[in-house]
Symmetry: C2
Subunit: 294 residues, 2 copies
């Protein structure tokens, strides 16, 4: 079993050099965190781009071959592919390899990680809370993760001493680390990420039925409120499937909240409507400030 | 009856130097569109600030006195105050004065405008689609309206030759003018502005029940989706009241759309969920790009 220098790996393999995967590669290169960056990409065109990039030392068409030299593997594909890839690479890992990921859901991935990546290798899920409605390595930047939150989701069975190197890795990309169970993670992000996406997308889906010219009248309010709905369906469909239970719970809670407001407006209860608006404003003002990408 | 130079007024009175009113004053001054800018402010503190400002020539504590020298009056308060002020100033207008406003609702305001502002003076409602969750003259800027849409909402009874000077006024602030009836305006903004606000506020109101620490994990998605909910309840409560009928209609349409998605997720219909996400993404990508304030 290969010895890991604390928090510094010899070879990282990134599976899926999209916006997140390529940003990880760039950040790792810029900070000189590893000796070698190996990349697997599904598409030949992307592999060609990686060959030219200074953030990739070797590129692979086969995920099994891609992980063989790695002491850290990062799965950076949509969540359904993360599960596929766990099944493919498990038997080909260098003994002692740490495997982490960037998936927006964690429960189902943690269960697959535990069965597919076995001792002395270890899977420890992660979810860097950095994203964009844009996708693809062309938008990647080495500063993508700086100042953002990152969930680390070991399970009860994860050896405690294996968690630290993974947490340090994400921390070195500039992230604030929060360690929670996979299930608590899924409950939290259903509320703060998946429900906002659903609500923005529902607004878009509804407005798509209205006259085209109306959209020319829209102000920044509509643009901001719906920005996340520009995200890729290929990424979001499996998220909604993986986190179905928590997402349905938040949708129903949202429906109840909206229904209560509807009743207050319909019954002309200005104090109720005002209390609602004040509660909302107060909450929004408590959210930490942050920059908006494009 | 005073003769108006086409599109250029001698004296503009702005009632309510908040974010919009003060931005109008600054834009008017910078472009030298009028000789005198008169301002009425409710609060003594704001009147004191106006006295110091280069975008205000005279400040008034009484709205009736404030409009007496004006050939253009702009009502720039929350929509309930616009209706109050119309009642107060109607009998004190210089004959032939044009009155416009910035209110986010138009049907109820147009009905009051028609009865309170009578020939030879004329009320022609407007709604500049520029706004922010911030409020107050401190955030005002002379470029606030540039490149934004502005609704002009004459009624069937508005003399046609009176519309043009008001449209030109808003156009000179840099806005794209769209002339629609007050009722069509209210239907459009219920969809593209009021519903997005309600949805963002509902998300905030719901998340306010969740553990405080979760909010530290939030990414830009939640921040953008909820930005508008930081807006002032004093401004939004009367909007929800004025436009009750159209707003209730959009809330119900939104509920139906969300319920359909909930069913698709619950019944595990990936093709339905994917079609929903694709429709939403397609709509979002068609929205005109735009900058985001703060």
């Amino acid at each position: 079993m290969k010895k890991l220098s604390i928090g510094v790996f010899d070879c990282i393999t990134i599976l899926g050099p999209g916006l997140l995967g390529a940003s990880i590669a760039q950040a790792v290169r810029e900070r000189a965190l590893v000796k070698a960056i190996h990349i697997w990409a599904h598409r030949a065109e992307t592999r060609l781009a990686c060959e030219q990039a200074n953030w990739c030392d070797q590129v692979f068409a086969d995920p099994k071959a891609a992980v063989e030299a790695a002491d850290l593997v990062v799965l950076a594909t949509p969540v359904d592919s993360i599960i596929d890839l766990l099944g493919q690479i498990g038997a080909h890992l260098n003994p002692g390899t740490l495997v982490t990921d960037v998936g927006s859901t964690k429960g189902m991935i943690a269960r697959h990680g535990a069965t597919q990546v076995t001792a002395p290798s270890t899977f420890i899920g992660a979810h860097p809370m950095a994203g964009s409605e844009k996708s693809g390595w062309r938008y990647a930047t080495p500063t993508f993760f700086e100042g953002r939150a990152c969930f680390i989701t070991p399970t009860e069975d994860t050896p405690a001493e294996r968690v630290d190197p993974v947490a340090r890795f994400w921390k070195r990309l500039g992230m604030d680390i929060h360690t929670v169970s996979p299930d608590l993670h899924d409950e939290i992000v259903a509320n703060i990420s998946h429900l906002p996406h659903i609500v923005a997308a529902t607004l878009c889906s509804l407005l798509a039925n209205q006259p085209e010219e109306w959209m020319g009248f829209s102000g920044n309010g509509l643009k901001d409120t719906t920005r996340v709905a520009g995200g890729s369906p290929e990424m979001w469909l499996p998220i909604l499937q993986h986190n179905e239970e928590e997402i349905l719970r938040t949708i129903r809670a949202f429906q109840d909240e909206l229904h209560a407001l509807e009743r207050s407006i319909h019954n002309r209860k200005p104090f109720e409507v005002k209390a609602f608006l004040e509660r909302s404003q107060h909450f929004r003002k408590r959210l930490p400030p942050g920059d908006s990408p494009g």
